[in-house]
Assembly symmetry: C2
Homo-oligomer: 249 residues x 2
């Protein structure tokens, strides 16, 4: 079946099933090999790259819809996502479905709700849906070379900005780093998210002040340098910091 | 005209004008007499208190809609608002329009987009629309005694939580305090937003470290105590901090 026919076949059913004018787009960041990736699909239609977004069921809570969309489009479950912004320019989806007339469900004006999450990429195994040729992790550093549909680049940028703000008020790293890690590995995670190098002394001092780390009586052996101390997260304090926020006044 | 008839009259026109299933609710916080207030309307219909929300025009950007809604419902212009959360439980508006049948525009399922702002309440003068008996500032401390429609209490709580998080990563106070203020006045603003008392010494140290204040060669005279120094915001550094965020790693 050609990719255009796929949409025509889905359209009538979509009108029955989903709310009009509303979509949701997940920006799932993956941390992998000390880099950030984002989960994208390459659609059969026009071979275009985009976020694996979807629609909201008429009888579905928004939270349920977000989880179901990730499962439907990317085969991913068990990922906790958070809403971060709404994209509502009136012409944001106008030119995407040029080959169709206005009766296509997918061609209407959509206000899209962006949701995001950051996970260890090596633990999530994306599976494309029938509309997509592939669903895969793309390094952020590769994004400039890829043409993204509609305003999806802006959605990814805004999600990254939100993640960078969040890192000032919430702890990060649990589930991303191995159970035991060095301060230098944790610093690398922060640097990757912030997109800049950090001063080592300042970082060590600040991160220790948060009280979320436990120093282990153990060192990472084998490097050329002095064996660095290993740390683990203090689960109780980490959970408290997640709940109450950091840098509180 | 009775309040029920008002909705019946508006319904058909609303179907032509607005997107279905989508609404927007503004949470405008006012700072006044060292307290926080929120802007509410009391509807003619059921004399119910709620946020002065509205709908999104079919040919209107979301940003435009948010500003227009504030103007229509509360007579307020020139307020810069920010989206903070989406409320999408499937039954969130189910019981509100019990006196109407399903053909009423206002009775459908709405996913609502929350937007918020914090302003000097004494500079904003709300004017009720024709659907409302009154549009006024209500102190947060009075909210527990008021019955709010639907999930509007949850929306206000979430907006306040967002404001509290924001205060850790963005400077606050410009446009809320007089041009010259004491550190103790600024501390009061932070305490009101955070809903807790702060240690004076810690607060003074932290706020000075942000680099957004200029100490004036002037004191506030007239109190029983030693005349406190007056400060003003360093506009350039304040703008930079707004742009880049505080507490940066």
């Amino acid at each position: 079946m050609d990719s255009k026919q796929q949409f025509l076949n889905l359209s009538e059913d979509a009108k029955e099933t989903f709310l009009p004018h509303l979509s949701a787009d997940p920006v799932i960041f993956g941390f992998d090999q000390n880099e950030l990736k984002v989960l994208l699909v390459k659609m059969n239609y026009r071979k275009q790259w985009m976020l694996p977004g979807g629609y909201i069921g008429k009888h579905e809570d928004l939270d349920e819809a977000m989880m179901r969309i990730l499962k439907d489009r990317a085969g991913i479950t068990g990922v906790y996502v958070e809403e971060f912004a709404v994209f509502g320019k009136k012409n944001r989806s106008e030119f995407y479905f040029e080959d169709f007339d206005e009766t296509l469900f997918h061609k209407q004006r959509f206000i899209t709700i962006g949701f995001y999450a950051l996970y260890n990429a090596s633990k999530l195994h994306p599976v494309p849906d029938e509309l997509s040729e592939t669903c895969e992790w793309v390094f952020l550093s590769q994004l400039p070379d890829i043409e993204l549909a509609m305003d999806h680049r802006e959605i990814i940028d805004k999600a990254l900005l939100t993640l960078r703000e969040k890192i000032s008020i919430k702890p990060i790293g649990y589930n991303l780093l191995p159970e035991k890690f060095t301060l230098s590995e944790l610093q690398k995670l922060y640097e990757v998210i912030l997109g800049k190098e950090l001063n080592r002394g300042n970082f060590y001092r600040k991160i220790k002040n948060l009280g979320i780390l436990k120093k282990l009586d153990e060192q990472r052996r084998g490097g050329a340098h002095k064996s660095p101390d290993l740390y683990t997260f203090d689960e109780e304090n980490y959970a408290k910091a997640l709940e109450n926020g950091l840098n509180s006044w």
